[in-house]
């Protein structure tokens, strides 16, 4: 079969008006609204979408294969490069997976610092999403405000571990760096300030007529479809399913904190926006609790110099900003993993793009890609 036949196959249920005027266009990989190098092949009837197919792999770096040729410790910085908007979450998932297979538990202080940084990263990721998503739809202003607050979070990261995006902040067994002087204060100041800022973003968007018309009823996905496609994260919660790994399968020290899981009802772009805005507020709530009762003590568990986990395999998943991020690690008792398989939230969520955009206009594809919140580094790995 040629490439043309595989990519442009007609869907039996779709008919264009008088079975004519069907246009096939490529959106991407150079399109600015596809948030990276995603190519969407759209079949159009006029401006209505009657089918679509995602072509991915433009950013494939073979991260999983690299893992098989690196030691467990050496692979740690590589996971930061998958979802580079939420590097801390990736690192948390990987470190916890290896700790689980080694039956090691990070000390309480390390766990609290991990939660603080991961939740800060959740806010940073959602801010990046909000700014670019609003920009795609036509609201230019929120981008500047979002990046202003994101910058403060990145400063905290830089201060803590020396890098802004690819942080490499956690190590297997705990943390490498002790928190710097004034860490708690800086985080607290940010949190107090940030709640007002979220309200500020909402004044710009929530009531805005253009925003409402571009988001309400766009990209609707039902709860059943979400579960069928394995969609997780804010997209699933926007459809009304109360599912959050932090509550459902608690990891790290999340059981110590009180927080709510926001959900939507309609499963449209607007609901997912509301869910993410509320998630940022909940993240602030978690951070404040964690900073208030951060314990003293060691930051690194006792782990051997050369990490050789026992033979076996483990699956560990965490709630990354974009959904369930899972690591399947297979160990053969050598210094290098036999296999590392990553379950990236963006990749799985992207599979639902087709049913979300059918029947909508081309301009809505931009809104829906934005609302799924994909990072192509993670989709292609």
């Amino acid at each position: 079969m040629t490439e043309a036949e595989t990519v442009y196959r007609p869907h039996p249920e779709d008919h264009t008006f008088l079975d004519s005027n069907e246009i096939v266009i490529n959106m991407g990989p150079q399109h600015p609204s596809t948030h990276g190098v995603l190519r969407v092949v759209l079949r159009l009837d006029g401006e209505k979408i009657i089918g679509s197919e995602c072509v991915i792999g433009y950013l494939h770096r073979g991260v999983e294969k690299i893992a098989e040729n690196r030691t467990y410790v050496q692979f740690n910085p590589y996971v930061d490069r998958m979802d580079y908007a939420a590097a801390v979450s990736n690192s948390l998932g990987y470190c916890e997976a290896i700790e689980k297979i080694m039956s090691v538990v990070a000390p309480p202080r390390a766990q609290y610092v991990r939660v603080i940084l991961t939740e800060l990263n959740r806010i940073a990721s959602h801010l990046l999403w909000l700014g670019t998503h609003a920009l795609d739809i036509g609201a230019l202003t929120p981008l500047f405000y979002c990046f202003r607050e994101r910058e403060e979070i990145l400063k905290i990261f830089e201060n803590y571990c020396g890098a802004r995006l690819t942080t490499h902040s956690f190590r297997i067994g705990g943390l490498q760096y002790e928190t710097y002087d004034g860490f708690e204060k800086q985080v607290n100041v940010f949190c107090d300030d940030f709640l007002h800022k979220v309200d500020e973003y909402e004044t710009l968007l929530t009531g805005n007529r253009i925003w409402l018309q571009r988001t309400k009823g766009i990209g609707v996905i039902s709860a059943e479809d979400c579960i069928q496609y394995g969609v997780t994260g804010p997209v699933l919660r926007g459809s009304g399913v109360k599912w959050d790994i932090r509550k459902a399968m608690p990891y790290c020290c999340y059981p110590d904190f009180e927080f709510d899981i926001p959900t939507g009802q309609n499963g449209d772009t607007f609901d997912r926006y509301i869910v993410r805005m509320e998630e940022m507020r909940q993240a602030v709530r978690i951070i404040k609790q964690a900073v208030a009762k951060i314990p003293d003590g060691p930051i690194m568990a006792k782990i051997p110099k050369v990490i050789k986990p026992p033979v076996g395999e483990i699956y560990h998943s965490i709630e990354a900003p974009k959904g369930e991020l899972g690591y399947l690690v297979v160990s053969d008792n050598s210094t290098q993993p036999y296999r590392v398989r990553v379950r990236p939230p963006s990749f799985v969520n992207l599979s639902a793009l087709d049913i979300m955009i059918r029947g909508h206009l081309v301009a809505d594809v931009v809104a829906v890609i934005g609302t799924i919140d994909i990072v192509l580094g993670e989709v292609d790995r």
Binding site: V73, P77, T141, C161, E200
Partner: protein, 153 residues
């Protein structure tokens, strides 16, 4: 219909008020290419090979940094120190010490691995180049300046 229009007008007015308020806030952006950027203390930039108080190189060519490196970007050739050619305080010194910045991911493992604190992260970051060959930094480019008052060799 009328309430719809009023709601729309109200929402726009609210958004515009926010923008207007922000107009009078102090500027927070950095004027980077014209002014140096601000870095925090732990920033991981281009490496610096340190010297001790006598001006000798701290690196003793133990290869731990090269072993720890996830991207294999450190290349070292070791040589013995001799009486009339003493470069480091240990037995050996690095005759060649290259870091390939095409590959380096600035993870910091080399700095953590170093037993003599010879390799550290500096705050330099402007290493972009049109030629990849120039990105292989040699020991001479990475070494710190000799401290003042160091004995002449």
């Amino acid at each position: 219909m009328i309430s719809d229009t009023l709601n729309t007008a109200g929402a726009i007015a609210k958004g515009m008020a926010t923008t207007l308020k922000e107009l009078f806030q102090p500027t927070i952006t950095e004027d980077y290419p014209f002014e140096p950027p601000n870095f925090e203390g732990r920033f991981r930039g281009v490496h610096v090979l340190q010297r001790d108080a006598n001006g000798l190189e701290k690196c003793v060519a133990c290869f731990l940094c090269a072993a720890a490196c996830p991207s294999n970007c450190i290349y070292i050739e070791a040589t013995e120190n001799t009486g009339d050619n003493r470069v480091s305080a240990g037995d050996r010194y690095a005759k060649v010490y290259n870091i390939d910045y095409n590959r380096c991911i600035f993870c910091g493992y080399c700095v953590e691995a170093c037993p003599t604190d010879a390799i550290t992260h500096g705050h330099d970051f402007e290493i972009a180049s049109y030629e990849t060959g120039t990105l292989v930094y040699r020991k001479e480019q990475l070494l710190a300046k000799e401290p003042q008052g160091a004995p002449a060799k």
